[in-house]
Assembly symmetry: C2
Homo-oligomer: 654 residues x 2
């Protein structure tokens, strides 16, 4: 029987990809020079006027170095883990003895806080000793474990140092002794998925199948009847971590994607970060266990999320209540969540699906999330962040409508619950892992990020230098340098947004076969061969499915990988009263004054007059229109000038 | 100095107006024959599958007739009061010995539950004896008192029976002994305004100025520094009624309109029912105290509310969080509150402003709220109610979006917190009081509700018989029957929605002077004179101010006093994908099959095709349009067929 997917694709490790890109190098520099040091200050509670983190302090208390009370959220440990993970990636890219020394010291501290039996969690060590594993539903013990495992793997891979890795193996061993189907073990799983994907990374680096099986156990067990969260809740006296009182039974919680077993899940539901972390682990398991029923679930959940529940910016999570998915086509622009972390999780999921299937839809969504929702999450100074990435903002609403208090018109310094900033850092620091996948004889390019890369195919080693002006000019040039002339395939993604891509090899135009969004160029490659790609990068409009009520009658501007938006700074107030005529020409030009320079789109639109309205709220006379030149900027660049209105979707006049 | 208003207008008492109207008689019959009996069953917890009320039971416990625990909300007493008030009005209209006997028994029970010193509140009697007047911020003691006072006045006016009135005078006396500026008294006021307007009714019926002054004290004291709610909160140990824990200080609570003194309030803020009950009392006080600064506040708050914060259906309250106003032009259609009670309070306020000024804007808003938001609150069977009156409904959203759970697509049987049903009942039962005001020589007609009325002007007694086909045909005919031929003025409101009104007296067309929305017909009137009014009742479109983002690009259909809406039952799903071309003809016809028969509006519109979309969520190709005949029904009639989508605002294709 033929599998519906191939699982022969591998990522090209971070260590083999050296990014040098006009667009991304500044982000990577920002992460290295600003974000990682700034977050270190934050973890140590040294950012003025920001909510304290308590994260390092908690480890010091747990390690017995100082005395004090636990501070912050129950999952505060994970911020240290994500920081360490980002440091790990960063050290892969560039040596930094001072940073490495700091990280080693943090690792010493973390290991000091670990118990004899391998257990590690500062909350339970400091605040509720003896209560460990009694509230997996709410208390994130395995979530924190998972992040520290990811950190250990990243740090080991870049530095070769095993201290944290060994410690995390001991922790994973401890968990494996306590959890499983065997008699005496707990048949449970965490309320916040994360350890599942982390254990697979641990398996990949240690080759110890125990970790793969433990991950599989957590995925298989989830959502089964009798329900673990209910049994656990009864056992601990029906209490909740949040306030301590008695709560009703957590029956079939969609919030945690534990409402039914994962293979029976048909739609993306619940807390969106939890969802995509889980889907990522599921896709990983397909790769390593060839479980077709799990693949079917991944495929179904992917399609539902991407085709029914994803914002055009690559954001997911339509409501702040539970930071969650709601239902098909429910994509409100001004009350959404679209958490930065959730889009990062979507990228994780896409990257794993690309290891099962070479389909452009995965890389298209990955790119969409990366270039829009994710980088919008961070300010140009690397010190201010959005959790929530709205598609429409009215500052007065954020202030006066309680249903929009979560929508911040200005990026914040640091959050008490600070998952997003270190998540952005670790993604950008590990971006090299998202550019390529390969199988025996084909190298797939998913993202056009300028870089020098060394890969080994069956036919031999190949060096590739990609020069990219992808973002603003749609132009990419690759020097292909096989160690010896040999024949293999280079497969290039044809972006979903592009009406066409021109390919040339050594200056000769070619027409490669395009299958599932990839152009396959198979030939004998000689050292110095040049591949050129020119995407059709014309500004264009997009429309949403008629069932998306929030976008009825509206259009969105896109150019290259970027979705555009209108800001008050360029277009004045009352953005909702602007209409773009269906036939209006979209004029783009480079504007060096916005951020470090972006391509803006201008068009002749109309705007409804306010001056003839006086005091009435409703009237019979149609609105009077005036001419209005509008100017749109890439969404990721919004909110970096004076605070004001913002809108991604623009009304269209037909 | 000339006052900016005249305060010489009086309402025509209920007892002098006998309604006999094609549209309203069925509602009044419904209230008398169904709503009042049904609510009596509800107050006695005899409605199957509905949340129990506990209201009568609480009084029985407080009276010592039975034993038990207090049930329901802290303000549950008010439901009994509102029911009694409705019974009072109902008995004014038509004798009903059985109902009167039941009411007398309830009054006996209420008075039995009253304390020796006049205090009455079953919550504090049963559950927290000794704690009375310790949490006015949250516990509604005076709110309940106010409703029982209103009931007492209504019952006394219709039956002449003083038992409840005397009891409520004792209660008011007790309150007056405890509250005031004098040393030893509490300088406080209730968290939920209501007693202020009730005390003025008590003053009107008893002529005891003490009650007027007490009302004035509550209004004057509100929002002053040092803040009463903070002082009270400190005194009771900073606790909250809701759950018992410690809460932060209730500083400058806009929710309760106690953020600044009332004369400094510039915008309608906070809980909308509280707001309009307070504004009503303020307008009453202007009438009886000639306080110009208070008039200025009323005028300002009225204008803000009507011109910046009112739904086209006469609903107020843009958010369910706090059931509150938000900010100017923030009028979301699908997450709003627009509580039935709030529109009733708006009508109270308008009726009082009409006693200060004869301006059509007050009656226009009163009519809008009455014919749309208010009667939409009740089903045609009188047994199902909406609290929340949305302008756009998608049943799936109500189910799956936590931010829309308050938006019910189907009217509910009864609510645990059941303020709205008895409020509708008392308004409809007292509707006769809203039709007219008069001064010495002019009778103003605000609402065209068919009725026979006897009024006394300076020139003598006049009988008027109004035959109205106002709602569907815009036609009104009045027989004017002065006891003796004499000259006076009849002033008729020219509805804001009408492009013109034709007037005739005894078949002769006349062109009366129109001032501030009233046509003044001054002449010698003879018995049997006939006045005829024919409004231009053509279906038309309305547009919202360009700053109302929710209605950008949309239009609404109106005919006569009714705002129209589209329902799924007539137009299929995905109402947001319908567009009404700007030039499309609006065709109206009477449809006897909807409710008891309504005029519907049809038009040739277009609808976006879904069939050519396959699985994509976003695409470059514009949506394809198909022809679609749409059918709109009056908003008040929505939700009486199978549950489905509903939308008031329709996208317009320009």
């Amino acid at each position: 029987m033929k599998l519906r997917y191939q699982n022969s694709y591998q990522t090209v490790p971070l260590q083999q990809v050296r990014i040098k890109d006009t667009f991304w190098t500044k982000y990577r520099k920002l992460v290295k020079d600003t974000v990682i040091p700034y977050q270190w200050e934050a973890l140590n509670d040294r950012i003025k006027d920001a909510e304290p983190s308590f994260a390092i302090r908690n480890f010091k208390i747990a390690a017995g170095r100082i005395e004090g009370e636990f501070g912050g959220m129950v999952f505060q440990d994970s911020d240290v883990a994500k920081w360490l993970e980002a440091v790990g990636y960063s050290l892969s890219i560039q040596e930094d003895p001072d940073l490495e020394k700091t990280a080693d010291e943090v690792i010493d501290l973390v290991v000091e806080a670990q118990h004899e039996d391998g257990y590690l969690n500062t909350y339970y060590t400091i605040k509720e000793p003896g209560k460990r594993w009694t509230n997996l539903y709410e208390c994130h013990e395995m979530y924190c474990a998972g992040h520290m495992i990811e950190a250990a793997v990243a740090y080991y891979r870049s530095t070769g140092k095993r201290k944290l890795l060994d410690a995390m193996c001991r922790f994973a061993d401890h968990i494996e002794e306590r959890f499983g189907v065997e008699p005496g073990k707990i048949r449970g799983y965490d309320g916040h998925q994360e350890i599942e994907l982390a254990l697979i990374k641990l398996y990949q680096v240690t080759k110890n199948e125990k970790y793969l099986k433990l991950s599989q156990f957590f995925i298989d067990e989830r959502g089964k009847d009798p329900h673990f969260f209910v049994e656990e809740w009864e056992e601990r006296g029906k209490t909740t971590h949040w306030g301590g009182g008695i709560i009703p039974a957590p029956k079939y919680p969609t919030y945690n994607q534990a409402h039914v077993p994962v293979r029976e899940q048909k739609e993306a539901v619940g807390h969106s970060v939890r969802a995509v972390y889980m889907y990522s682990a599921m896709a990983d398991l397909v790769k390593f266990t060839n479980d077709e029923s799990l693949y079917e679930a991944c495929n179904r959940l992917w399609k539902n999320m991407i085709n029914k529940q994803m914002y055009i910016t690559g954001g997911i999570g339509s409501t702040y209540q539970g930071e969650a998915f709601t239902f098909d086509y429910d994509l409100p622009n001004d009350t959404n969540y679209a958490e930065t972390c959730a889009s990062i999780g979507l990228i994780f999921f896409a990257q794993r699906m690309l290891q099962l299937e070479a389909k452009g839809e995965y890389a298209d969504a990955m790119e969409k999330a990366l270039y829009n929702n994710v980088i919008a999450g961070m300010s140009v100074d690397g010190k201010h962040y959005f959790y929530v990435n709205p598609l429409e903002v009215l500052p007065e609403a954020s202030e006066k409508d309680p249903g929009k208090r979560h929508v911040k018109p200005v990026r914040q310094k640091w959050y008490g619950c600070s998952c997003c900033p270190p998540n952005v850092a670790r993604l950008i620091a590990s971006l090299g892992e998202y550019i390529y996948t390969k199988n025996e004889d084909t190298l797939f390019t998913h993202l056009y990020i300028g870089s020098e890369t060394n890969v080994t195919l069956a036919q031999g080693k190949v060096n590739l230098v990609m020069d990219s002006e992808y973002e603003w000019n749609g132009k990419v040039q690759i020097s292909v340098n096989p160690e010896q002339t040999c024949s293999f395939t280079l497969a290039y993604r044809v972006p979903g947004w592009s009406s066409g891509v021109k390919f040339a090899v050594n200056g000769q135009e070619i027409n490669p076969e395009i299958v599932d969004g990839y152009a396959y160029i198979h030939r004998q490659w000689h050292k110095g061969d040049q591949v050129e790609l020119q995407m059709d990068i014309e500004s264009h409009r997009l429309y949403a499915h008629p069932e998306v009520r929030a976008n009825a009658g509206k259009t969105v501007l896109q150019r290259g990988p970027f979705v555009y938006c209108l800001e008050e700074a360029d277009n004045g107030k009352t953005l909702g009263s602007i209409m773009l005529p269906a036939g209006a020409l979209l004029m783009d030009r480079f504007d060096p004054l916005i951020l470090d320079g972006v391509v803006i789109i201008e068009a002749d639109a109309v705007k409804e007059e306010k001056s003839d309205w006086e005091q009435t709220l409703y009237r019979k006379k149609q609105k009077v229109l005036e001419q209005k030149r509008i100017k749109a900027i890439p969404y990721y660049a919004w909110g970096n000038r004076e605070p004001g209105e913002m809108s991604v979707w623009i009304r269209e006049r037909q």
